[in-house]
Symmetry: C2
Subunit: 494 residues, 2 copies
């Protein structure tokens, strides 16, 4: 690889850009803030989609699709929602271009009666639809998910983390009772946490957002928060209990079993291509990305050690046999037998792209009936028998998946601090990491810390997530000196 | 079902709308021309996606994603392309709304420097990207597919067939030689034809479009054409050989193996949610939709014949056992044990939705160890043993799939006419169907027929598709009296 990757210790933000480019995961486009996702990046997203989609279906959800465009008047109906999204949305005002004096111009005669907003999220168009779908308790619950693109006109963009257009899923459910909606909100947060930990090998904290960090229009926003290698937090998924806010805004009522009209209870929940940014910053190293095996587009790359103009047939045969054995076992494998690149170049490329396991096979391996298995995470190399290669590879993939999780969990443990003074807090924020600190529950203290330490409350954590720390034990907020009901998770964040 | 479905013979267009509504496949939305796809419709699309995606991957393609927005100036670069799409595109001109006097308005201070077009198709943004990806013959071919939403501002819309926003896939490939690109174009047409015939159970004619019907910017457009029950043709998929037009427009060259710079050769190909309309109008009957088993979201519905306040446990147990046996065999099955609906209501609902096989099990069936298997296409009912139910169901699904294809093929045969006079041609067009008629190859004759008979040349067919008819035999165009190189397929069309 000719491409240079900046070292993480030198400039973490530049490293992030460099590995994305070198691993061909995404690139900027001529459309400000919009990404191109080349196959390496998109296939990772496909694998994430596949795993999440199975989990959504296993919890009773069905997929559907709603319009890309939202009438301007819909956004206006929920006061907090419009406040949150109106200031950063793409607006379609015309439906035709025309040629004039050799130029292509927006046709002034083709202005829409009502401007359309490109969906930043779909609560409004979906609740308008639900108001027609739902009449009776028999129509409930409605458990729907949508895979879609959305647009939020961000001024400062960053590949995966903050882009004008991004890909995501958004669940939108409707329920007869408050309890059922709250249960759904919590269930989907658990689905996200399971996905983050078991598939992405990324430990997360589960909790609830403060009012200041809530989704516009939500009663409660639950979230999972991960810690990146530079000590910054990243919100990796959110699940919102929306109460009856959207049902009121779109007049969505149902007849309950006593024949009374009631507003419907709502939830929404989503994760996006942002998760790819989280994955990169959880596992990557100075040599490139490291893909967790369960999501890796390519789990195993086989590189035959061939010689130019030599007799390579025995080596290629052995490589093909291993490839076929792995394919038959359901492993995502490529055999890279391209002539125009040397083995060393291929090794470097798969390292940058983060392929978790590499197999190399040369003439001596053929004699011995072995191959060299290299782990991307540790760099460890060991000879393995060609016979029964699938078993050895399965074991290695399993070990890499577990090792990535363990390493990330250890990193988070080392960078999570119980903090009881504001001075110590500011040191921790400078150094990077989570601070478990008491909070008096007021927006004033929250705003002061944000202003002075550039840190936000990532969440009020659910109990029992930090061994040896009872985050629900009352105490004193060291910032204000006021009493506190418990510790919250503070960090600087993406 | 309380919903009435108009009979096909009375009003085919109204029947089409009625079955879509009753089967919950799609509905109009408050956004003019944009559909909502409820789960029944979207899951059908998911199954189509799954089958096509596997075929694309098996032919070496990888998925990627490109921006939704296209700078206005990009559209302008390819003359025919802009001509084809500029007059019906959604244009984003602003990036913010704001409140003014209690109203939400488009913020005049947030106008974009360059308007953005919501993609009507992605050739331009993709070839701009390829011009950076492709330097050398080593970078070729590029074989990429995108699953996406696109927008074309249609004035007269119709669910699935013609909507402002629709879902589709678009393949975009780049090649070193003309021959390779032509081969790719033909290969993907074959993929579409295989999908239409083997998955949708819908026979299609393969051929090439005339210049008048070509994709804007293409050198050649290949297509598959299907015949609907009302005798109208429907273009079901297109594959375009783009020559070097887009490579020239976006200055995309490569170094060939002799170190000379050459423009890259291109193809693009797509199918859309329009296929769902084709499926409905190929197989539906007066009672509703009929789903081809290979694509049906629900292949089998099990309805237990229970009695209110009766002891239904034995019946429900038998139903559950069959459900589990079918699930274990990979059949998409639902057991409808809802109390609030009677069995007769459920029968009617699954009939409307087109579930290909229904199983009913009541107390007498339990005694006999049988269930009643009903085929949606023929209405035939027969008792089948509960033991080994998966085998009986597999056979029935296979038979329905084949019967649907055979019925559609017979319909097409009966409605395909070899025509040698313009008078007879006009009769055939009035009655509906394909006319195989000589054409002199001129746009003048084509335009005259379009004007006088409201019929278009659907394609110049590939040889050997109509038993007993050599469409490549020269003759005389009965419209102009001029010599003809062969017969083309004329029809009125959707």
């Amino acid at each position: 690889m000719a491409e240079t990757i900046t070292k993480r210790a030198d400039d973490y933000a530049q490293w992030y850009q460099d590995v994305i480019r070198a691993a061909k995961l995404a690139e900027t486009s001529p459309v400000r803030g919009s990404m191109v996702l080349p196959p390496n990046g998109y296939e990772l997203w496909e694998n994430m989609q596949g795993a999440l989609d199975r989990m959504f279906k296993a919890t009773g959800h069905r997929n559907a699709y709603f319009p890309l465009f939202i009438p301007k008047s819909f956004l206006a109906r929920e006061a907090e929602h419009v406040e949150g999204f109106a200031k950063e949305c793409a607006v379609v005002t015309h439906y035709r271009l025309k040629e004039e004096d050799g130029d292509l111009i927006v046709d002034p005669d083709a202005e829409l009666d009502e401007p359309l907003v490109v969906r930043p999220t779909s609560e409004t168009i979906i609740w308008d639809t639900y108001s027609r779908w739902i009449q009776s308790w028999r129509d409930l619950p409605v458990l729907i998910n949508q895979w879609a693109n959305v647009v939020r006109w961000e001024m400062r963009t960053r590949l995966f983390l903050r882009t004008a257009e991004f890909l995501w899923q958004e669940g939108h459910t409707a329920h007869a009772t408050e309890q059922e909606a709250v249960d759904e909100t919590r269930q989907m947060l658990d689905v996200y946490a399971t996905f983050a930990e078991e598939w992405m090998a990324m430990p997360v904290v589960r909790g609830v957002k403060t009012a200041a960090e809530r989704f516009p229009g939500a009663v409660d926003t639950y979230c999972i928060e991960a810690l990146m290698q530079d000590g910054k937090a990243l919100q990796a998924g959110t699940s919102h209990f929306l109460g009856q806010n959207f049902a009121r805004a779109f007049d969505c009522t149902f007849q309950n079993q006593d024949n009374e009209a009631e507003y419907v209870w709502a939830t929404s929940w989503g994760v996006s291509t942002r998760l790819i940014g989280a994955l990169i910053m959880t596992h990557g190293d100075d040599a490139g990305v490291i893909m967790p095996p369960k999501l890796a587009p390519v789990q195993v790359a086989i590189v035959p050690i061939t010689r130019k103009n030599g007799d390579n047939e025995a080596v290629l045969d052995a490589a093909r046999e291993m490839r076929d054995a792995l394919l038959a076992d359901g492993v995502r494998v490529v055999l890279d037998d391209r002539d125009q690149y040397r083995p060393g170049w291929k090794f470097a490329q798969y390292e940058v792209e983060g392929v978790p396991v590499r197999l190399a096979v040369g003439p001596r391996d053929v004699e011995n009936g072995t191959a060299e298995l290299a782990r991307r995470d540790t760099g460890d190399k060991s000879p393995v028998p060609q016979r029964g290669i699938a078993g050895a590879v399965r074991t290695a993939l399993h070990e890499v998946q577990q090792a990535l999780y363990d390493r990330a969990a250890a990193f988070r443990r080392e960078h999570t601090h119980v903090v009881d003074s504001y001075e110590r807090f500011q040191e921790v924020m400078e150094a990077g990491g989570f601070a478990l600190m008491h909070w008096d529950g007021t927006p004033e203290t929250e705003a002061r810390v944000k202003d002075e330490a550039k840190a936000t409350i990532r969440c009020v954590p659910f109990p029992g997530q930090f061994p040896g720390v009872d985050t629900d034990e009352p105490g004193t907020d060291p910032v204000s000196g006021a009493p506190s009901a418990g510790r919250v998770v503070y960090a600087r964040a993406y």
